[in-house]
Symmetry: C2
Subunit: 373 residues, 2 copies
DNA sequence: AATAGCAGTCGAAGTTTGGGAGTGCTAATT
DNA sequence: AATTAGCACTCCCAAACTTCGACTGCTATT
């Protein structure tokens, strides 16, 4: 056994690293060379493994909490481990079944699907579940409707192609009559199908110029509608559930200040929302470049947000048809079961995509088809 | 100084108890007799105070974590303290201003008001904010509307008197035409104004018997509507925000198991929701008996839920007009600043009630009034 | 190149210790 | 009778110390 093939050496180094990360995740303890020697099935003595470990440490994959302790993965170590994992494990079929049953018999609104999804993610991961809702701006509209509520009040309702229902009350400066509203609705919906909000805006603007029918009301409505759509759709698009679960794993945090930082961040939502938006954007760009990547993982300080120092984020996108429209995932302690989380998230991405299919595939033409009985 | 008036003795005993609770809340430490003697301004020696303390302990208001430690309040001690506090402190006007500004310029839906309120409660309390939404069953309806979504699909929309908007998609077994829907909506709304869901049910049922117009569709719709309303309105009526904040105060909990219990409970929501429902019911009963009580506090084990052993709940009701329709409050560590929390909750109850006033006061008659310009 | 063996490091967990914070009791005081 | 000072006693807590053993890195050996 003279002269070791460098390839072989490299190979077993990887194996050691993987085993260390894996085992640390399971035990939350520093991993010693002897544990490797005995349980990892490498057929090497602890001494040899020690030298491998110290190489790995020199390369920045591992650290010792102190001399004479075992090794713990760095962010970089986790990163290697996660990259290696890519798409390996499948979800246990029992768990699949459990999830699937939750979605069965549920022809539902986007809103409910997503909020339900974030709960499921949370409860299956014992961490936080998060879902970024599709931006309304980017979706096609299916219907706009104005419902009079008496007096000057009306309720505006907006249904998007993907099944999201938005509604907000409006204070008009006139009291619309039933028949006026009906006409207005008719007019609006004649020009809306499948168009994006921007397009609808333009149409409304053009109609305002031509100044045909019901000028005052149209103007009123257009004005108010545009105003409402401008604002009001920021961090509210984030479904975030189960944050308490993340914080409860106190052993994974250093001091109390760290926990408080994290709590603040989870409470305010804005920073997290921004981070996810940005991630999603990047993902879109990459998808456009043909670089299809399923589940992505963001480990500890890779986020550059100090509050997330000790947690990791596992995300993927979900689609309507072949357009990626939103992001979903799990936030948990850095020492999470990545392979399970990754397959969970991957699977949930599928499930949501399938749930949304039902909305997209439907007949595209007018409202009255043949009686379906 | 011969012969002490028993009333005076009783009085200062109360004072001692209050001071102990107050100070423990501030410091989170057991309180010693010497601290009382020096800082409470009682003009008594520590020895005398000791004997008072031991009486209080015998009566179950205080305990010592161990011999030779100071005293800590029991649930009963907190209870006394809280009952005494009743309506004493007002909220700092700066804070009021801050809150008030959040509601200004916001003619909004019930849904948003409440979810916003729970966030505010959470951020102002550093605990969890919770709001129990009015039961739809008990509210009058303002509008029902069906919007066709193409094919057999329709979106049912229901607006209650208090401004809650419910909507859910329905799969019909026929494809409704525009004009049919319009007629149906007309018919529905002619019979709906101010009625409760039960009443609407009955009306629909009666109409089904008389079997006049559009029988099939009415039947269809009524069936589906009733079905939907039966289910689906349980724990979703609870807005719960900021749960992570409660858990983050690790020093207030015994072991990790306790924390996990609490986390589970906060995650599942059902138990908590039930507890709150029950509280609300009781409150209604009491209000009916003319026993008006503003803010209520539930301390630790008074809830009989082991998971809530170390937390307290501060709640009040909010109203629409003079009907109590919902509950709101704060969940935090047992060692919370009760007086601040109570005035916060009290105040928020007011704010929400005022916010809902806007919805109730409006003109009650038909949709088209004089042009209001 | 791999290993056995060994000295050395250092944390974790247990033990000991003193100090002090606090109590309850009792006898003296008003 | 109520209050207080004084004191003995309890018991936690923090610090200092010890022991143990889990690891490592190095070196000589195979």
């Amino acid at each position: 056994m003279r002269q070791l093939d460098p390839k072989v050496a490299e190979e077993r180094k990887k194996k050691v690293l993987q085993w260390v990360v894996h085992y640390h995740i399971k035990t939350s303890r520093p991993i010693a060379s002897s544990a490797l020697a005995e349980e990892a099935g490498l057929e090497l003595s602890s001494a040899t493994i020690r030298s491998i470990l110290s190489e790995l440490e020199a390369e920045g994959y591992l650290v010792q909490p102190h001399t004479s302790a075992g090794r713990v993965p760095t962010d970089r170590g986790y990163r290697y481990y996660v990259d290696y994992l890519e798409g390996v494990q499948r979800l246990a079929s029992g768990e699949k079944e459990r999830i699937e049953s939750q979605y069965r018999n549920r022809l539902d609104e986007l809103d409910r699907v997503l909020s339900h999804t974030s709960r499921l993610l949370s409860s299956a991961s014992h961490g936080a579940g998060l879902v970024l809702s599709p931006k309304v701006e980017s979706q096609g509209l299916k219907r706009i409707e104005l419902i009079g509520l008496g007096g000057n009040r009306a309720l505006a309702i907006l249904v998007t192609q993907a099944g999201k229902v938005l509604h907000w009350p409006m204070q008009l400066s006139f009291a619309p009559s039933e028949s006026r509203l009906h006409m207005l609705n008719r007019f609006l919906n004649d020009h809306v199908g499948g168009k994006s909000i921007q397009e609808v805006r333009q149409i409304l603007a053009r109609q305002l110029e031509h100044a045909e029918l019901e000028i005052r009301e149209l103007q009123q409505f257009a004005h108010a509608l545009l105003g409402e759509l401008e604002s009001a759709f920021g961090p509210e698009d984030l479904y975030l559930e189960g944050t308490a679960g993340v914080v409860a794993h106190t052993e994974d945090f250093g001091d109390a200040r760290e926990i408080h930082q994290l709590v603040r961040m989870l409470e305010e939502r804005t920073h997290l929302s921004e981070l996810l938006q940005e991630r999603f954007q990047r993902r879109l760009d990459r998808a456009r470049a043909g670089d299809e990547t399923g589940v992505e993982v963001l480990i500890g300080e890779e986020s550059h947000l100090p509050a997330l120092r000790n947690v990791s984020l596992v995300t993927t996108t979900y689609r309507v048809g072949d357009r990626h429209v939103g992001l979903l995932g799990v936030l948990g302690p850095k020492r999470m079961e990545y392979s399970r989380m990754m397959s969970l998230v991957d699977y949930m991405g599928d499930v949501v995509t399938r749930a949304l299919e039902a909305w997209d595939v439907e007949p595209q033409e007018g409202a009255s088809g043949p009686d379906g009985r």
